[in-house]
């Protein structure tokens, strides 16, 4: 059992949860994920680590309340316990001194890009963070990200914060930056990662995405997370979750991601309390 330290909505429908899992915190590296199980007999939900604290023995994730299991997660309170917190799983993000790195986060990815930006900064890179959201009220963690980056660019569809635009404006943003970008890292929904990769392809900038495929065990056993990268089947949980965004078969990733859309709605058609 893993005790919840904090669970709160940070912007509409986006939650930040911190749980006590000292062994996971001890081994955590940027870009790795954990699996949470919100209830007995519950689903195993893979979530990218957004932060951890070795001293306090805690790990934090940022997640969206979108289905039955994340709704259950969202309804749990500090002091309660989760039956499963397991990890850190997957490979760490490759961190090196690349020069200038653009870290793009959208939605939960604003949280999950944070440890990556922090590690890149510590490795001596110039770090520029692009935070993408529909509107200013959906942006979060700007202060945290500012502390580990050289520049922050906010991108909102309605222009209420920073530049007006969306992920499709990425190439233009890169062109207007004062420095040459050597590497781009994309964290967020499939659309953001796919569209962002399309933007950087003609610019020939190496682009890494952190895939969020379906998973069950997360340890290389079930194979539901398979994805075609450069026409070869890879398993996101043990070969990834980080891949070259220019080599990922995005149509396939998007299709596979939707496999249980119908079924995920069924349990929500109820008036019972969650």
């Amino acid at each position: 059992m893993f005790t919840i330290f904090e669970n709160r909505m940070i912007v509409p429908n986006v939650y930040q949860m911190t749980v006590h899992a000292p062994d996971v915190a001890q081994s955590a590296l940027p870009g790795q994920f954990v699996i949470f199980r919100p209830e007995e007999d519950g689903e195993r939900i893979p979530l990218t680590l957004a932060d951890w604290d070795v001293q306090a023995g805690t790990v934090s994730v940022v997640y969206l309340n979108v289905g039955r299991s994340t709704a259950k997660l969202a309804s749990s309170k500090a002091g309660q316990t989760l039956p499963t917190v397991v990890g850190p799983l997957g490979n760490a993000m490759e961190i090196d001194r690349y020069g200038a790195v653009l870290c793009v986060g959208g939605c939960y990815g604003i949280g999950s890009i944070y440890p990556i930006a922090r590690a890149l900064k510590a490795a001596g890179n110039t770090v520029v963070c692009v935070l993408e959201a529909r509107s200013s009220f959906l942006l979060y963690w700007q202060e945290k990200l500012r502390a580990v980056s050289d520049q922050i660019v906010c991108l909102t569809r309605d222009g209420t914060s920073g530049k007006r635009g969306h992920i499709g404006s990425l190439a233009e943003i890169i062109r207007t930056l004062p420095m040459r970008i050597d590497r781009v890292i994309l964290n967020g929904c499939n659309y953001l990662m796919m569209r962002g990769s399309q933007e950087t392809l003609p610019l020939k900038i190496k682009t890494i995405v952190t895939l969020n495929t379906l998973m069950i065990d997360g340890t290389g056993m079930c194979g539901v997370c398979r994805v075609s990268v450069n026409s070869e089947t890879k398993f996101a949980c043990v070969h990834g979750p980080h891949f070259d965004g220019h080599q990922v078969d995005w149509a396939e990733v998007t299709q596979r991601r939707k496999a249980y859309l119908q079924e995920e709605v069924i349990p929500l058609r109820t008036t019972q309390p969650l």
Binding site: R44, T219, G220, T233, A259
Partner: protein, 470 residues
């Protein structure tokens, strides 16, 4: 009932009572109901108590089979349990899932007369009889040695090593990656063949013996083997199955295409057959194809059938070559699984939304025997045909789990990613690290994993009590 042909020689193997076909093909409850004590005693009385028992020779864990059978015949079940459990800590499990026809029963003197003793059923009877008693019999535990052993993986290999070593007085901790102990016994083998309460009972027994168990702990990720070696005197790796194999053909990443591991894990570990009462979603499929002919293929097919799908097993050789246990093939046939032999799928065909809609197949004929001694299938040119399916399950095996080899320097790995271990001792190339089960052999059986674990436990005990050069 047939009359014995010779005085004292009863050739009437007592049949296993089963759930009626029409009932069981729509539920997930156990198919085989087990012998009652009368049937068990009758069956046991048929044993001729060979001087040189062929059954014992063929048992991977060396159970004294004639002795426990004798005890049953005499109605002394408690004595039988003691004999059995001195060698096999999981009798209720092994009695259900061991391939007895290839092992003990294959060595029975009565096999020539097709009347081999139903050793597996008797083993299961004793295991279940003991569980039904109000007080659990506890074995003797040696005085504490002060030695600590870490066991990676809570499946058949890990549970066996832990049971053997805890009885010898060592302190044992099992680290399990999933949220439940049991490994393949809980995520893989379906409820209708091995009820999960039986696994829970066996796990509880080990816990009472003093084995510590940590779930949700992925050695290699949460903590490395090297780090464990700082705290423990010995480490046993029984991390089991890894990446599933898919038959080589285009279209395997379409929606509706599963590995057997995924399909079975959704239904067993995650209890998908109760969806939407449990949250892990499963699809309602109409026509399901299972590719492969082993026990795992039978488990998938019988699960799909119980979920209401018309289910077809596609196997590239003929029925004779199928590696699944005959009993499981017969169960599947009785329940209505369709078998298409000498059939090789060559392409998964998808619809415009990325869902599988069928398989292109080709007919095969059997040619010369291959390395495995089985006649190898050869495609018949021009025999291509299409079969419609909305789900395809690949049950053709898997590679060993990669997490420990990937994260443990100094551990030698074979061509297929399997950990290299001495077959007699389970010793790996890394000092103080032993390994056994599927992570060493690739996909095999529960009992082979247990046999390897028993030998490793012996070697670990020897090393701990009398440390020597690696």
């Amino acid at each position: 009932m047939e009359q014995p042909v010779k005085k004292g020689l009863d050739l009437n193997r007592r049949p296993m009572p089963k759930q009626a076909v029409e009932v069981r093909r729509r539920n997930f409850e156990e198919v085989a109901l087990g012998y009652d004590s009368r049937l068990a005693m009758e069956e046991a009385a048929r044993c001729i108590q060979c001087k040189k028992p062929g059954c014992v020779e063929r048992c991977p864990v060396e159970v004294d089979i004639p002795a426990f059978i004798q005890a049953i015949a005499e109605g002394e079940f408690e004595r039988g349990v003691r004999i059995l459990k001195s060698k096999n800590s999981l009798p209720s499990v092994c009695g259900r899932v061991c391939p007895q026809e290839e092992q003990c029963e294959g060595g029975c003197a009565l096999l020539k007369k097709a009347a081999q003793i139903a050793i597996g059923r008797l083993e299961r009877f004793l295991g279940d009889w003991e569980a039904a008693q109000p007080d659990l019999m506890m074995p003797e535990i040696a005085p504490p040695t002060g030695k600590r052993v870490a066991v990676i993986g809570g499946g058949p290999a890990g549970l066996t090593v832990a049971g053997d070593l805890v009885k010898l007085g060592h302190q044992v901790t099992i680290f399990e990656a999933l949220h439940k102990m049991g490994g393949v016994l809980v995520y893989g083998i379906p409820e209708f063949r091995l009820p999960k309460r039986i696994v829970e009972r066996e796990v509880e027994y080990l816990r009472r013996l003093g084995v510590k168990m940590v779930v949700d702990y992925v050695v290699g990720k949460t903590r490395t083997v090297d780090s464990l070696l700082e705290e423990y005197d010995a480490v046993f790796v029984g991390s089991g199955a890894g990446l599933p194999w898919f038959s080589e053909m285009p279209g395997n990443n379409l929606n509706g295409v599963y590995s057997a591991n995924e399909y079975l894990t959704r239904f067993n570990l995650m209890r998908g057959y109760s969806f939407p009462l449990v949250p892990t979603p499963v699809k309602e499929h109409v026509r399901v194809a299972v590719i492969g002919g082993g026990n795992v293929a039978m488990d998938c097919a019988r699960t799909a059938l119980r979920m209401g799908a018309e289910t077809t097993v596609l196997y590239r050789r003929s029925r004779e070559e199928m590696p699944a246990r005959l009993e499981e093939i017969e169960n599947a046939e009785e329940e209505g699984v369709i078998f298409r032999y000498l059939t090789l799928p060559t392409r998964c065909v998808g619809d415009e939304r990325g869902w599988v809609k069928g398989l292109e197949c080709i007919r095969m004929e059997l040619g010369e025997p291959d390395a495995s001694g089985r006649r190898s299938p050869v495609p018949l040119p021009g025999s291509e045909f299409f079969l419609p399916f909305d789900a395809v399950i690949h049950a053709i095996g898997n590679s060993p789990n990669p997490l420990i080899p990937q994260t443990t320097p100094g551990i030698e790995v074979g061509r297929k990613g399997n950990i290299i271990a001495d077959p007699q001792t389970g010793k790996t190339t890394k000092p103080r690290v032993w390994a056994g089960g599927d992570v060493v052999t690739g996909a095999a059986t529960v009992i082979l994993a247990m046999g390897a674990a028993r030998r490793a436990a012996r070697s670990i005990h020897e090393y701990l009590t009398n440390p020597s050069e690696w």
